[in-house]
């Protein structure tokens, strides 16, 4: 499987840009995606979303979103946006230590489950690839 096929399998919607971003380095890409899948922030996200902590959830999702975007992981990237954006105003209001009623965390959990599914799917594709 070449770089391009891999990106297609990963549902990448901007293949050319992603190829350039990783300067055509297939191994570097695999390494980066593995790093993404194993990022410690997944744990923070999991904890904070379950505890309904706005800022912590926002920070973790925001970081993961940024990396996902850079890795061309379009599906998970778009899902993470759906978590980040509803939290943005609250997160940036600097009064976010408590659970906010205005944030519909039930809805976020649903998105979060999809995120986890996609993460597993990516891991399935990438996990077996030796670098």
């Amino acid at each position: 499987m070449d770089f391009k096929d891999l990106l297609e399998n990963l549902n990448c919607k901007d293949i050319e840009l992603t190829l350039k971003r990783f300067v055509g380095d297939y191994d570097f890409y695999i390494e980066s995606v593995k790093e993404f899948i194993n990022d410690v922030r997944w744990m923070s996200l999991d904890k904070s979303i379950k505890a309904k902590l706005v800022k912590e959830t926002f920070d973790a999702a925001h970081l993961l979103k940024g990396v996902a975007g850079n890795c061309g992981l379009t599906t998970i990237y778009n899902l993470l946006i759906q978590i980040v954006e509803p939290l943005r105003d609250e997160a940036e209001s600097e009064n976010d230590k408590v659970i906010k009623n205005s944030v519909d965390f039930e809805k976020l959990f649903l998105v979060y489950e999809k995120v986890l599914e996609e993460r597993i799917r990516i891991n399935d594709i990438i996990g077996g690839i030796e670098i």
């Binding site: 971003r21 990783f22 300067v23 920070d59 979103k65 940024g66």
Partner: protein, 704 residues
């Protein structure tokens, strides 16, 4: 070797950092990493090599991007480091906020590798250009704008604020060279930096710059309620804190009238104002006015034409007669220069002499005038006309430009003029600096036979001691200072005049008063014992042609006034020594003729006035003067006095004759007569004394 640009990538995601690193590695930058704002700040502050660009993620733990931007702003780090913020594409407010906080550019995530590389390259290029501009714009020593960039920035201010009033203040350190010698270059650099710092603090100052080595300038807004005096005071107060006290600054102020006037011209005007007070003690500020520029333009105009004017003989010698105060006979003339320009007409020496003194051209012009005077004297000699001395001006600079004694001597010799016919007028102030050298030169000139007139006596600073030492033959006073409407002032000035003439008599120098206009002044000067008079009372300075007519008319009148003219004396026989005899008694005349004519050519004159005139005319061929004490028009002792004052007695021995009285003989000898022959004459004694005197003449001639 080209230095690698250093880029700091700040992101809490190591994946993101790595991605950027790989992209930027394509352009061969040196990449540093930080995972939060705090680390980034430490990296920026601790690097010995400067970081050019920070690629900054905003959302980070510990210290986020916004916080870092704020700290960098506070630490004034944006001058050194450019920040590119990396944000999600969908966050417009975040971009705006980061730009407001000092970021220069932004890149959206996910990164477009081409855009990242392009943005980084653009920023680096911009930084390099800015650095170059800064190097060119700013004076490296003081950090102020240099000349060109001051002009540019001041112009921008003036053009964008057409309704505001501005003024430009320039300063110059008058004794900067001295400071350099005294304290050395490094200390002087500190002085300049110090001055620059004071300039930066100028109240209402908008732009300041350093125009040249020690010349600074500030463009300041004029505040209507503040007078110029207050502004000046503020300036001086500012500088009064300066640690070095012995530097003298002068300030020139230019009030901006039209904002479109080139700033370079405004600076020139302010600096021109400084030149008007450069030598004025106590004057610190000068405000430019239009007459200053006109004077400068005129100066430049005259300077550009002077050489050509000399070549084309546009400089004309004018002569102003000098008269004997007692006999009123024409005694000599002063040569004065006039510039007759084909386009500008007559330019007065008051205007061009100071300029030529400043640029050194005066020496060429002086020499030209000396030569013109020699030519005229030569013309009179060749035409066998009566010759009278012409006095010419010698400037202080001439002593420094030429080997003056040989230069003038060679000149008169080339025209075959007796040096005593060229009087040299040297101002008293010429002796004030390099006195020893100038005095030595003047002494040497005097030894060669030139007569030295001290011009403007009383206006200089000679001490009495110095005056007695100076090699002078005649003192010249300018009467300008007594011309005043205020009579009380006049009275005190009269006292001074009387004192100065008295002083010169005491020093045994004859005096000439110039600038004499009125009959009363003539009478006054005569009563005070002034010997010669020059001024409008007799004649203004006139052209050579007019002077020659004037001279002829004078001598014609003088001859007319004599009962017996000496013009019919036959001097053609130059094989025998010439004696001039003042003897009015016909019997004695016959006796003298009988005794002396076998050995001498005899010229009788019948009055002291005639004797004097004869002497002036033929002084260079007379071998001996035989003076009778009893003369109709003047005490012969007084005549001897005058002859002595004018230096004739030094050259020509005088034999006095009179009835044998002890006092007469004693007085005669005391006054400087070579011998005294009592009446009635003893042929042998008379011949003996005359022979001794004629021998003495030869000896003196040999000696001189």
């Amino acid at each position: 070797m080209k230095l690698q640009d250093r880029i700091l990538v700040v992101d809490d995601s190591s994946t993101n950092r790595k991605i950027l690193k790989r992209i930027l590695a394509l352009d061969n930058y040196e990449i540093l990493e930080a995972e939060n704002g705090q680390q980034a700040l430490e990296t920026i502050l601790n690097q010995s090599k400067p970081i050019s660009i920070v690629l900054l993620d905003l959302s980070m733990p510990v210290m986020d991007g916004f916080e870092l931007l704020k700290v960098m702003e506070n630490l004034d780090l944006f001058k050194k480091v450019s920040v590119i913020v990396t944000t999600g594409f969908d966050v417009i407010n975040t971009e705006l906020k980061s730009l407001q906080l000092g970021a220069i550019e932004f890149i959206t995530k996910p990164y477009n590798a081409d855009i990242v590389r392009h943005r980084v390259r653009s920023i680096l290029k911009l930084r390099r250009n800015t650095a170059l501009i800064n190097t060119l714009e700013v004076d490296p020593l003081t950090g102020l704008y240099n000349r060109e960039s001051f002009y540019l920035h001041a112009k921008e201010v003036l053009l964008s604020n057409p309704t505001k009033k501005y003024q430009l203040i320039c300063s110059d350190i008058i004794n900067f060279k001295m400071l350099n010698t005294k304290y050395g270059a490094e200390a002087c650099d500190n002085i300049l930096t110090g001055i620059a710092n004071f300039y930066k603090k100028t109240k209402d100052g908008i732009v300041c710059g350093r125009l040249g080595s020690d010349i600074f300038v500030v463009l300041r807004e004029m505040v209507s309620h503040k007078s110029q005096e207050e502004v000046n005071k503020e300036f001086l107060t500012n500088f009064s804190h300066f640690p070095i006290k012995d530097f003298y600054m002068k300030f020139g102020v230019y009030e901006v009238e039209s904002n479109s006037t080139p700033v370079s011209i405004m600076c020139d005007c302010a600096r021109l104002a400084i030149t008007t007070i450069k030598n004025k003690y106590g004057a610190t500020f000068a405000v430019y006015d239009i007459s200053m520029r006109k004077n400068l333009e005129r100066e430049q105009q005259l300077t550009s034409y002077m050489e050509q004017a000399l070549e084309e003989n546009q400089f004309k010698m004018y002569l102003q007669p000098k008269h004997n105060s007692i006999t009123e006979h024409l005694y000599g003339a002063e040569a004065l220069v006039r510039w007759v320009h084909p386009v500008f007409g007559l330019i007065t020496p008051d205007e061009f002499i100071p300029i030529f003194e400043k640029n050194g051209f005066i020496s060429k012009l002086d020499y030209y005038m000396w030569e013109e005077a020699c030519k005229l004297l030569k013309k009179w000699i060749d035409a066998k006309e009566k010759i009278i001395p012409i006095s010419v001006n010698v400037s202080r600079i001439d002593f420094l430009t030429f080997d003056l004694p040989s230069k003038i001597y060679n000149l008169v010799e080339s025209y075959n003029i007796p040096p005593s016919m060229l009087h040299l007028e040297i101002t008293e102030s010429a002796y004030t600096t390099e006195a020893e050298r100038i005095i030595a030169d003047v002494k040497s000139l005097r030894m060669q036979g030139f007569l030295i007139e001290m011009d403007d006596f009383g206006s200089g600073y000679s001490s009495l001691n110095m005056l007695a030492e100076l090699p002078i033959d005649i003192l010249k006073l300018d009467m300008k200072f007594i011309h005043s409407e205020d009579t009380s002032v006049n009275n005190s000035k009269m006292t001074i005049l009387n004192f100065v003439i008295g002083l010169s008599k005491w020093l045994k120098y004859p005096t000439i008063a110039e600038g004499v206009e009125k009959q009363e002044e003539v009478e006054l000067l005569k009563s005070m014992g002034c010997n010669y008079i020059q001024g409008y009372f007799y004649s203004k300075p006139i052209s050579v042609n007019d002077f020659e007519s004037y001279k002829k008319k004078c001598f014609k009148n003088e001859v007319k006034s004599d009962t017996k003219s000496f013009d019919n004396i036959d001097l053609s026989d130059n094989s025998k020594p010439l004696l001039m005899l003042t003897e009015t008694d016909e019997e004695y005349r016959q006796m003298l003729t009988k005794i002396l004519s076998p050995y001498y050519t005899i010229a009788f004159v019948n009055s002291c006035t005639n004797a004097y005139e004869f002497l002036v005319r033929y002084y260079n061929v007379i071998n001996c003067i035989v003076l009778d004490l009893l003369m109709p028009d003047m005490d012969a002792f007084r005549l001897v006095d005058i002859l002595k004052e004018e230096g004739y007695i030094k050259k020509i021995p005088v034999v006095m004759t009179s009835e044998a009285e002890l006092n007469n003989e004693k007085n005669a000898i005391q006054l400087g007569a070579t011998s005294f022959v009592p009446k009635p004459f003893d042929e042998e004694i008379l011949l003996h004394h005359i022979k001794l005197a004629v021998n003495e003449y030869e000896l003196r001639k040999l000696h001189s």
